[in-house]
């Protein structure tokens, strides 16, 4: 794979995930924060599709716990604390904020 791109998605607008799904060039991580964590619900088709495409999906653990979503999110989604999120930001070549 090529360049590592982080899709940093902080609101419930589906556009961010749609654009991430359409990006076939880069090595993609989708990072969900705030209300965007609701996309990680196991019944969500966009995130299932992203996982099927072997994209990495990470979420802010605190945002998941606060919302009571621990058992509701897709089990292929990785919940990280803020410190780990910071590491991920620096690990990527580009940040696509949405």
């Amino acid at each position: 794979m090529g360049k590592k791109s982080l899709y940093f998605i902080t609101d419930e607008d589906e556009t961010g995930i749609e654009l991430a799904l359409e990006n076939k060039e880069n090595d993609i991580t989708i990072c969900l924060l705030q209300d965007a964590v609701f996309f990680a619900n196991k019944t969500n088709k966009l995130i299932s599709e992203a996982l099927n495409q072997n994209k990495t999906v990470i979420v802010v653990k605190e945002d998941i716990e606060k919302r009571g979503l621990t058992n509701i999110i897709n089990n292929k989604v990785n919940a990280l604390d803020y410190g780990e999120i910071i590491d991920k930001i620096f690990e990527h070549d580009s940040v696509i904020n949405l």
């Binding site: 705030q34 209300d35 609701f38 619900n41 019944t43 716990e65 606060k66 009571g68």
Partner: protein
């Protein structure tokens, strides 16, 4: 007029990302002194009543409404669309059919969205 006004507080936004559902519940509590507001959660607002969610800033509103026998209704269609079931939600809310949600809205004099 006044006293008999049929008011629906319609929660549609999810909790924590914004204060909307919390402020909606606070409004239901506030106007309960003069009216019997009907509180209904649709779409993402259903998440407000997930068993495991942090309710520090709105648990008191839920309890207050319960104590004065005012119902909090949750739209069954929205619950199903989110892949949730009755067991995922707290006992204080009542899941009702989507047609009943529509009926309550059509019978209302005033619907206020949060």
């Amino acid at each position: 007029m006044s006293e008999e006004k049929n008011v629906v507080i319609l929660l549609r936004e999810p909790p924590h990302g914004s204060l909307h559902p919390v402020e909606g519940l606070r409004m239901s509590v506030a106007i309960s002194s003069d009216y019997d507001p009907i509180t209904i959660a649709i779409k993402g607002a259903v998440y407000t009543f997930l068993k495991g969610s942090d309710k520090t800033i709105y648990q008191m509103h839920i309890e207050f409404l319960k104590e004065i026998d005012l119902d909090i209704f949750v739209d069954k269609k929205s619950v199903e669309e989110l892949g949730l079931s009755k067991e995922d939600l707290i006992e204080e809310v009542e899941i009702i059919e989507h047609d009943d949600v529509l009926k309550k809205i059509s019978e209302a004099d005033l619907v206020i969205p949060f």
